[in-house]
C-alpha cells in the first residue's frame, strides 16, 4: 500500500521539535520507531499532512538511572535498550521484561517506549508496568512542561490527554521503595510477535516486618480501554499478611473489575478467566520477591 503525500521534518533539538509542533498542531504526527505509525499510514487509516521524525533528537534517546534517584527515560529510548539496560533491569525488572516481550527483536530495536504509550492500544505491553511503578509522563510544548501520572495520560483506545502542540518527552519513574518488588505477566497464544489477550503488573511494598503488605498496586492491560488500576485489590490486601484465601479473594476482585471485550484474539469470558489466574500467580510471585525469597 502506498502512503499519502506528507511534509517531512527531522528536527535536531527538543526546541525545534516543539516549534514544529506549535506550528502544525494536530496536522502533524510524531515519528519515533514508526512501528505503529507506518502501518496506520500504509493502511490509510490516518493521513497526516506532516510527519515530524524525532530520531535525530539526542535528548529523547537518553536513560538516566542513578542509584537512589529513580529513573528518567527519554520518549524515544528503544524498547531493546530498555530490555538490555543493566541499570533498568536491576531497578525495574518488570519494565525490562515487558519491553523484551514486545514483538520481535527487529521491532524492539525500532520501537520506542514513548511510542508504545502514545499509540494508546489497550493491549500494549509497557504502559501496564509503567503505571504499576507509579510513572509520570512529562508533556512538553512551547509554553512549558507539565507532569501527569501515566494512567491519567492514556484516556482511551488511541486517545491521549495531549493538548494541541504538546508531546510526550520523557518518563519519570520513582525510586522503588525498600522491601518492594514489581512483576509483570501476560497471556497470549504464542511467545513472540504476540498481542496480549491480557497483561498485568503488580507492585508490592512490605512493612518493616517483612510480612505485612504496606501497599499494593495491581494494573491490568487489555481488559479495559486504558490501563486499569485495581481499586479493590489494595483495599483487600493493604495491611494484611498474604494467605491463600486472601490471594483468591483478591484475584476474584480483580476479575470483577476487568471489563474485557470479545475480539479476534480472545473472548471476554476467557480474558476474565485469565485475569484471575494471572492475578493469583503475580500476587504470589511479587510477594515472594518483595520478601526476598
Amino acid at each position: 500500500m502506498v502512503m499519502n503525500h506528507f511534509e517531512y521534518f527531522a528536527p535536531r533539538t527538543p526546541a525545534e521539535t516543539l516549534e514544529l509542533l506549535g506550528r502544525f498542531g494536530s496536522k502533524a504526527k510524531i515519528l519515533a520507531g514508526g512501528t505503529d505509525l507506518m502501518i496506520l499510514m500504509k493502511n490509510r487509516a490516518i493521513q497526516p499532512e506532516c510527519v515530524i521524525d524525532i530520531n535525530q533528537v539526542q535528548d529523547f534517546r537518553t536513560i538516566m538511572c542513578e542509584p537512589g534517584q529513580g529513573a528518567v527515560i527519554g520518549t524515544n529510548v528503544k524498547l531493546a535498550e530498555i530490555q538490555f539496560s543493566e541499570a533498568l533491569q536491576a531497578k525495574y525488572p518488570a519494565l525490562s521484561y515487558a519491553a523484551g516481550e514486545v514483538g520481535s527483536a527487529q521491532v524492539r530495536h525500532m520501537a520506542s517506549l514513548g511510542g508504545n504509550t502514545c499509540n494508546a492500544s489497550p493491549a500494549a505491553e509497557t504502559p501496564t508496568p509503567l503505571a504499576a511503578l507509579g510513572t509520570k509522563v512529562v508533556l512538553s510544548s512551547q509554553s512549558g512542561d507539565r507532569e501527569l501520572p501515566l494512567e491519567q495520560f492514556i484516556t482511551g483506545v488511541r486517545q491521549l490527554g495531549l493538548n494541541e502542540g504538546e508531546m510526550l518527552t520523557r518518563f519519570i519513574l520513582p525510586e522503588p521503595a525498600p522491601r518492594s518488588a514489581c512483576r509483570y505477566a501476560y497471556m497470549g497464544r504464542r511467545d513472540a510477535m504476540e498481542i496480549d489477550s491480557v497483561n498485568m503488573a503488580v507492585n508490592l511494598e512490605l512493612q518493616p516486618d517483612g510480612e505485612t503488605i504496606r501497599n499494593i498496586k495491581l494494573v491490568m492491560g487489555s481488559v479495559y480501554p486504558r490501563p486499569l488500576v485495581s481499586q479493590e485489590v489494595p483495599a483487600l490486601l493493604n495491611g494484611q499478611r498474604l494467605i491463600d484465601e486472601l490471594i483468591e479473594t483478591a484475584a476474584a476482585a480483580a476479575q470483577g473489575e476487568a471489563k474485557p471485550i470479545d475480539d479476534i484474539r480472545a473472548t471476554a469470558e476467557y480474558r476474565r478467566e485469565i485475569v484471575k489466574v494471572l492475578a493469583r500467580r503475580l500476587i504470589q510471585e511479587t510477594y515472594a520477591a518483595a520478601k526476598g525469597v
Partner: protein, 798 residues
Amino acid sequence: MSQKDTGSKWNLTPQGWNLEGVPAYQDQTRYTQVGRSVPRVDAPAKVKGEAVYTGDMTLPGMAYGKIKRSPYAHAILKKIDISKAQELPGVLAVLTGAEAPNRWGIVPQTANETVLALDKVRFYGEGVAAVAAIDEETAEEALDLIEVEYEPLPVLLDPFESMERAHEVLIHEDSPGNIMHQGEQVYGDVDKAFSECAYVLEREFHTNYPQHGFLEPHTALASYDPQSGQMHVWSSTQVPHYLHRQLSIVLEIPMNKIRVTLPTIGGGFGGKGEASSAEFAACLLSRKIGRPVRVTYERSEVFYTNKGRHPAHMKLKMGLDQDGYIKAVDFDNTMDKGAYSGWGVVVLFYTASMMHLPYKVPNVRFRGRSVYTNKPSTGAMRGLGGVQPRFAMECLLDELAEMMGVSPYELKMKNAIESGHTAVNNMFVPHSEYKKCLQTAVEKSGYLEKRGRLPFGKGIGMAGGYYISGTAYTLYQNYKPHTSVMIRVDTEAGVTLFCAAADIGQGSNTVMAQMAAEELGVFYEDVHVQAGDTEIGAFDLGSFASRLTYASGAAIKMACVEINQKLKETAAGMLGVRADQLVIKKREIYSMYETKKRLPWEKAVEAYTSINGSLVGLGNFSPPRRKGIDMISGNRVQGANIGHSPTYGFSCQVHEVEVDVETGRIYVKKVTEAGDCGTPVNPMSVEGQVEGSILFNIGGCLYEDQKLDASGKHLNPNFHDYKMPTMMEMPEMDTNIVESYDPTAPFGVKETGEGAVQPTFPALVNAIYDAIGVRFYSLPITPEMILKALKEKKEKEG
C-alpha cells in the same frame, strides 16, 4: 575437489547397506554423493539477502499492475465503469473480466475460474478489474476510480448450509445442490464385515481452515513482445508447466510462444500450485500496453485469494475383530470447497485413498462431497487430502485401542502394512519400513513407559502416517513422461543439468545435483542446475505430490546411461581395458579389476569432446499406470485412479505436551519422529523438511485458522492476527531417518516433504488426551477450548 566430511551419520556408506556378498564396486547402494549432507545450492544467496525474487525485479519501461477487488463475498456484477480510471494521468490500461473470459483451472474437466469476475463475484476480494500504471501509487488511485455496481446475494459460508439453501441460491448455475463433485467408492462388503466385528466405533471430526503461510506473496512479471508475439513471464509458482498451459488457454497463444521462468521462490506449500490472477493480469496488461507489467500481491490479497486446506467434516467408522485386526472402514467426508473448483476433485478422492494405507483394511466404503461456499477456493496444501483423514483415523485407532485395553502402538503395529502390499483398491506399496518407524519413535521417546503414567497436565501421544511419492497420472489426459532431464557434459561448463522443475525452497535443485553427480561419478559441487524455465529446461510437471526426487532421480539415471557409456568407451581406448569393466567414481575412471589403470574423468571428457563436441544425455520418467479397481470384484471404481504412486513414504511421531490447566495453553515440549523416506539423498535437507513439517502442522492443530465474518469478509488477513507458531513454539525435536532402501526406486528414494506433516494432528490430539483426559474432535484446539472442556469434565465428574 575434496569431499567435505559434514559429520552426518549418512555420510558415505553405512556398513549395513552393503548387500550381502556383493562386491563393493557392484553395490548400487554404495553411494558417495547421494546421502551427503550438503548445504543447499541456494542457501548462501538467501542468507545474504542476495537471492532475486520476482518482486525484486524491474525491467526497462515496466509498469505496475493492481487488481480491484470485490467488497462482497457473493454478488451479481451489474456494471463496471472504468472511464474515470482510464482518464487518470499515468494510467496505461484498465482490464475487465470480459476481455479474458476463458475458464481456467488445474483440473481441466472442472475448470471454472476466470481471470477477473465476469458476471458474478463468489468470494470476498475476488478480482473485478485490473489496472496498469506508471507507478504503484497511480495504480492504487486508479482502482479507487473504478466504479462497480453490485447486487448482493446471500452469502453461504458453511458447506451444510450451502447444500440446504441450494434451492434458494446457487453459487455456480451449473452445480445443482451447490455440490462441486460427489462420489462413492465401495470395496468389499462393508456392512457384513461390520456385523462380524468385535469392536466398532464411529466418530465425527472437523478440521479447520488454515492457509500456507509462505513468505513471498504471489507475484508475476510479464513482458510481451508485440513484434514476435512472444510472452515471457517470471513468476512465483510451483507449477511452471500447469501455469504455462493455463496461460495458453486464457491468452489464446500457443505454448511455444510463452516462456515461464522462475526466479527464486519464497515458499509455496501448495499455495502456488495453481495459476493465480497475478500471472494472468500481468500478461494481459502487458499485451495491452506492449510494456512489461509486474503484479505483486499484498499479504491481504494472498489471504483473499489463498487456496488453503479444505475444512473437512468427517464421519469415520472402524471395526476390528476379536484380535484387533481392522475389518472395515466407513468414511463420509464433506469438504468445504470455497468458491471455485481448482484441485477439488483430486483432493476429495485423495481423502478416500487415505483409508487404504498404512494399515491393511479389507473392506472400505467412502462417500464424499465437495461443496461450494463463498470463501476463497480451497486447494492444495502440504499433505493434500491426507492430513484431515489421517487425523480422524489415527485418533479413532487410539480410541479403539483403549476400548480393547491395548496400547495404540500394539494395535497400529498389528495392522501395519509391509513391503509388497496391495491394498483392496489396487494401490501397491513396493516397499515399506512403516513398522520400523513406529518402533523407532516409540522406543526412543519412551512412549510405552510414559503413556498414562504422567502427572495430570502432561501427556504423550503417537500417530503414524504415509504419503505418496508422486502420482500415476497427469491432471489432463496425457500419458507423456512426467519429467524429462537433459544433461550436458563438456570442458566448458562441466556438467549441466537442464530440467524445468521448480525449486520452491524444498531443495530440489540440490538433490538433483547430488543424484546427477552420483550417477556420473563426479562431485555434487561439479553439477550446475538449470531449472525452473520452460524454455531452457526439459519438461517437468511441477512441485506437488512429493514427486520430484523420485521422478527426477529416475530421469537423471536414464540421462546418464549414454554419457557414461561414451566416456567409458573413450577411456577404454586410452587405458587399454574393456569399457564394461570400467567404473566412474569421484571424478576418476578406473578398471574394477586392475585398479591401477585409471585416469581423471575430465581427461576422458576432454578426449571425447575434442572429437565429438558436447556430450548430451536425455532421460525421462513415466510412473506406472495403475488402475483404481476393487480387487475383490475387479470392477473399476470412480476416482480410484487417485492415490496411486510409484512408492510411498512412511513416518511416526510421538508428541509430548504440557497443558497449563489454568490458562489452557498447550506447550509442545518434545517431538520424537522416525521416517522412512527411502534413501535420504540429502539428510540435512530431510531433517529440515521434517522439522518444518511438524511445526507446520503444530500451527494447523493449535494456532492457525482463517476467520470470516458473516458477510464473508476476512477478520485476520495478516500475519499479526492469523497466528502461525514462531521459533518460540518450536519443541525439542528428535528426528530419525530409519534405514530404508526401496529397490524399485532410483537410488532407493521416496519422499519426505509431505509425509512428515501427516501424523502431527493426531499425535498432538492423542497427547492432549493423555494429559487431561479430554478428546478433541475439532481443530484448532485453542486455550479457550481447553478451559471449557476441563470445566465440563469437572462438572461431569463432580
